[in-house]
């Protein structure tokens, strides 16, 4: 037995529960990468056949048919046909159907089965169908389709063993002979057949008041829906701050304690300073934001998994249409509140190319979680923790204003872009509203783990490197006795040049110094300010003073406000630039993005500074 490891591909309409089935089949060990040359995600994992033989499982992008309209669907078609570079043709296709939406899903199933490849149908989410009062007969469906049909409930792990057995059998058959294509029907014929087959497979159908219809009556209500959405978003952003806070403070305490312990244990040396001021101060100040990022992603994942995200898109479509976009842009833009990188990647679901480009260009203006560290530090240092109204603090209001500035800026930019550079026919909005579903703990945990890992890897590699490089730039060459270390360093000299440019908008030289490494990622601003002021102070007493006090000592309120305004717009994130280049296939659009966002940042920071100075806050 020297067979090469087999490949099974999951094929299905969007919302067929493919990803849940994939997670259930493969467990946590998944490899996520891109197909070579395209920006479509390839998700692969491994499952065991009943005889203990491992087989690779590939989760293909959801599609409505093999006549494709998007790059994602094109990948699905090419993999099935064995034309996708970097992917061997699957031995067995598992066609995933939503049991309660057979009329629709059988259209694709017939098209795929007609190819004659070894196929197995997973009649998924039969529990939801039963909830809808629908009892199905997999046997009847199997004889109509001519392939095995296995009833599954991916999230409850029902039917998985039977599915594995059927896959093994189909695979054994595939080795017996070449595929036998069947007659291809036309689209209307397939639709007719789908309807007939769906009706034939239904054993009984009771008119249960369907849960999703009842929920939609409230959540999509023309007057109740939008306030509920906004209330939900408000809760999300409140939670991001309040839930994460205790964990954050604990982490912060841990890093300070570690730093203090090292200072006490190690003899004073450059190495000790590198570890405490460079590594711990730099990386630690970023890692403390992991709790916030996890809370935000938790809500986004829940909204996606429950099916509410599509409702949010529906509710926001009218508003987005006002600036020339569609409800589909709402999801990428909302994700961009966590991070613009997944946000920009999720613009792939936008079918209109101009619509998509506009969304990519404005996504970096959504206040991403990397800005939170910067905002949090500056606000804590400069905005008094005063109650404006019961339960409403001034600090929270300032933060809300920063979020609002980003949104208004993005909407304004979209309006201008849609009338100039990305002008074209008004984009449409066509989207399936999936059934409501309870998310499973396992799928959520897996999603959160993948997000946390991406973040920590970034903190461990790029931010770690930047923290060390910056520390080196700040510490060499060494200052002569009596001379200021920052002024003598290499970074100090670079900053001197930049300072001339940013001085008119109220930035001092320390800020100019910070902006250089912050090109890597916005959150680096905090660690680099921490490093700058830790190095700049010579005596131990001054070092003990927290970053907030250091900032208050060196910055005016007007400067702090200008700094906040700068970060609303400035595209200081290597990852965003890189993903934009990848998603737009070239340097033209990332270059444009850098230019217009830095321009906006400069103008707005300047305006805020001079208004603040005029108001006597300088």
């Amino acid at each position: 037995m020297s067979r090469k490891p087999g490949v099974v591909a999951l094929v299905g309409n969007p919302n067929a529960g493919k990803s849940a089935l994939f997670n259930a089949l493969t467990g946590a060990r998944q490899k996520i990468a891109n197909y070579p040359g395209v920006t479509v995600e390839r998700k692969a994992g491994r499952m065991l056949l009943p005889n203990g033989e491992p087989i690779e499982v590939v989760d293909l992008p959801g599609t409505y048919g093999l006549d494709t309209t998007s790059p994602d669907e094109e990948v699905t078609r090419r993999v099935i046909m064995g034309e996708q570079p970097g992917q061997v043709q699957p031995d067995v296709l598992v066609i995933v159907l939503d049991a309660s939406n057979l009329e629709q899903h059988l259209v694709l199933a017939q098209e795929v089965i007609a190819l004659g490849r070894p196929s197995v149908v997973a009649l998924n989410m039969v529990d939801l169908a039963e909830r809808d009062g629908l009892v199905l007969d997999p046997g009847a469906l199997a004889s109509e389709l001519g392939v095995p049909v296995i009833a599954t409930v991916a999230v409850r792990r029902r039917g998985l063993d039977d599915l594995a057995t059927a896959v093994a059998a189909a695979r054994a058959m595939s080795e017996a002979g070449p595929p036998q294509p069947r007659a291809r029907l036309t689209m209307p014929e397939r639709r007719m057949m789908a309807r007939t087959m769906a009706r034939g497979a239904i054993l009984s159908e009771t008119a249960v008041h369907r849960l999703h219809a009842r929920l939609d009556r409230v959540l999509l209500h023309p007057w109740l829906g939008p306030p509920i959405l906004f209330a939900l978003l408000f809760v999300v952003f409140q939670a991001v701050f309040s839930w994460a806070k205790p964990v954050q403070e604990a982490l912060d305490g841990l890093f300070s304690a570690g730093s203090a312990w090292l200072r006490a244990e190690m003899a004073p040396s450059l190495l000790r300073d590198l570890i405490t001021d460079g590594v711990i101060a730099g990386v630690g100040s970023v890692i403390v934001f992991l709790p916030q990022i996890l809370v935000l992603f938790f809500f986004i994942l829940v909204m996606e998994a429950t099916g509410y995200m599509a409702r949010a898109a529906f509710l926001m479509d009218r508003m987005m249409a006002g600036v020339g976009l569609s409800g589909r842009s709402f999801i990428p833009l909302l994700s961009s509140f966590a991070c613009a990188v997944p946000g920009i990647m999720s613009t792939r679901s936008i079918t209109d190319p101009r619509d998509r480009l506009t969304t990519i260009l404005i996504a970096p203006m959504m206040t991403c979680s990397a800005r939170l560290p910067v905002y949090a530090v500056i606000i804590a240092a400069f905005i008094p923790a005063r109650q404006v109204l019961p339960g409403v603090g001034l600090q929270g209001l300032v933060l809300l204003a920063l979020y609002a500035m980003g949104i208004v800026g993005a909407m304004g930019a979209a309006l201008v872009l849609r009338r100039s550079i990305t002008r074209g026919a008004a984009s449409g909005f066509i989207m399936e509203l999936p059934k409501y579903q309870l998310p499973t703990v396992k799928d959520l945990a897996l999603g959160l783990f993948q997000r946390a890992w991406i973040f920590l890897r970034r903190a461990g590699t790029m931010i770690f490197t930047v923290a060390i490089v910056l520390w080196l730039l700040l510490n060499f060459p060494r200052a002569a006795p009596g001379q200021d270390q920052v002024n003598a360093s290499i970074a100090g000299h670079i900053a001197n040049g930049l300072a001339v440019v940013v001085e008119p908008i109220g930035f001092n030289r320390d800020i100019a110094l910070t902006l250089i490494p912050t090109m890597a990622a916005r959150e680096v601003a905090v660690s680099s300010l921490a490093t700058t002021y830790a190095v700049g102070s010579n005596d131990e007493a001054a070092r003990a003073v927290g970053l907030a006090d250091q900032l208050k000592r060196h910055w005016s309120l007007a400067t702090a406000l200008a700094f906040l305004a700068w970060f609303v717009f400035a595209p200081q994130c290597m990852s965003t630039i890189a993903v934009t280049r990848r998603e737009t296939n070239g340097w033209k659009w990332p270059a444009f993005m850098l230019g217009y966002l830095f321009g906006l940042a400069y103008v707005f920071a300047g305006a805020v500074y001079w208004i603040a100075v005029a108001a006597g806050l300088g």
């Binding site: 629709q104 999703h212 009218r318 066509i430 509203l433």
Partner: protein
Amino acid sequence: MMTLDQIPLGAPARITRVDWDALVPEEAQRLQALGLDEGADVQLAYRGVFMTRDPLAVEVGRMTVALRRIHARAMQVELVPEPVSGAGA
């Protein structure tokens, strides 16, 4: 002649004719893929937020599809007197 955007909420209807030429080709293909085609039984479930009449949520079979009024206007419908349900149709 009535179009899909004009029928009362919840009233069962059937699409009789679609003016595909009035739609962007990709959008026409997408609507077809979602089952919004001549002969499909539909119901208008929701219409707009606040005072607007856009977008629409249409029930096709057991699926709900969101689309804009501009798409619905290209679809002529007739009201179906009895709700079509299950195998009896």
